[in-house]
Amino acid sequence: MSLSASERSFVKGLRMFRGFSNEEKSEVASRFISVEMEQGETLFRSGDDAMSCYVLLKGELEIWLDQEHIHEKVTRVLPGDIFGHIALLDGGQRSAMCKAARNSVVLELSMFDFADLMSPSKPMGFKFLHALTEIVVNQMRTTNDVLTRLAVKEQASNRPRPPTNPDLIQSIQEAAGMTVASHIGGIDLNDVEVVVSDADRHRQYNRKG
């Protein structure tokens, strides 16, 4: 369903479009459609081909890791959040599942409109790409801030070192590359460990059981 006046106004007011002209904002808003979701309804699953990206208008969504043997809630999506854009940027598949924590309204932008809005043949394409890049860069900074705090804290400890997995370490090092290329990713995770509290260990034990 195409957007109502208030929904269009919501899209035009999103922070990511702050550098857009009024005409460009209207153009972007005209490409979205509105989708109602009932509590518990699934929007996409891990491994799905990405056909759209979304902005949450109302309600609340949950992101779950739903790969083999794993079913873990990892984060929530709140009104104003954009999500599902990474798979459209890199052409990959969904890496997680998204479902409605309660009745919600999402605004959907198809991959075709996404590609058209991001086309370098128009000035707006430059702005659209820059806005999305700012978002993913910010996501990475946030993630890596957490990783760095954990790593530095744990590296400072002198506890016995855990066994290491070279492949995992290498991929972590690549993954955790942050603001300055792969610098933080260069943390030697041989020197990083997290001590399990008794409560954690009990929970871990139960989960494995």
Partner: protein
């Protein structure tokens, strides 16, 4: 303060830039536009190239020499986390935004680099120059790949198939970095 080199031969600068994935997709004219944005800078061993928490205003491409990336463990005390050499980048995300540097980078030897200021990159971007589109897109793809890899590492950490056998659980009181991260996330979410 760093010192400014004499002007390097364009071929040399072009050679350095085209060896880096971020610039490898540029055609000759686009590359020329990026070369015009660069200035050659040099550092002596021990000089700080960029400081942690300071707003990033530029990126560096190391041409010669080595540098060390350091993170503050506590005020004034840094721990080394990586070493960098020729062809590697420092602070490339500063082309996208002005967020604070996440680490300090110090020259380990005499080091020569190419510097690109964000303000200059933005001026070119405001002219909708295709080189800036390609570079931005490359940065976006690199960041997406890192986010996906991070996600996959978290999955690996919580996948029961990757965990140690049940009988070994009570003995070690440690778990992997990623398992620890997962526990923290769960803790935050209650």
């Amino acid at each position: 303060m760093c010192y400014i080199w004499g002007v390097l031969p364009r071929e040399h600068i072009a050679q350095v830039l085209t060896s880096i994935p971020m610039f490898s997709g540029l055609d000759k004219q686009e590359l020329e536009s990026i070369i015009r944005l660069t200035r050659s800078v040099g550092f002596e061993a021990g000089q700080i190239i960029c400081r942690q928490h300071e707003p990033g205003d530029s990126m560096f491409i190391i041409a010669t020499g080595r540098a060390e990336v350091q993170i503050a463990k506590e005020p004034g005390r840094f721990i080394p986390v990586a070493k960098l050499g020729p062809g590697e980048l420092i602070g490339e995300l500063a082309l996208i935004d002005a967020q604070p540097r996440s680490a300090q980078v110090t020259a380990l030897s005499k080091l020569d680099a190419l510097q690109i200021m964000r303000v200059d990159f933005q001026k070119l971007q405001e002219k909708f120059h295709p080189a800036t589109y390609k570079v931005t897109r490359r940065i976006a793809l690199t960041v997406c790949a890192r986010l996906r890899a991070t996600n996959q590492n978290i999955v690996s950490a919580i996948n029961p198939n990757n965990e140690e056998p049940l009988e070994e659980l009570p003995a070690p009181r440690t778990k992997s970095f990623w398992q620890g991260l997962v526990e923290k996330v769960r803790g935050v979410q209650g």
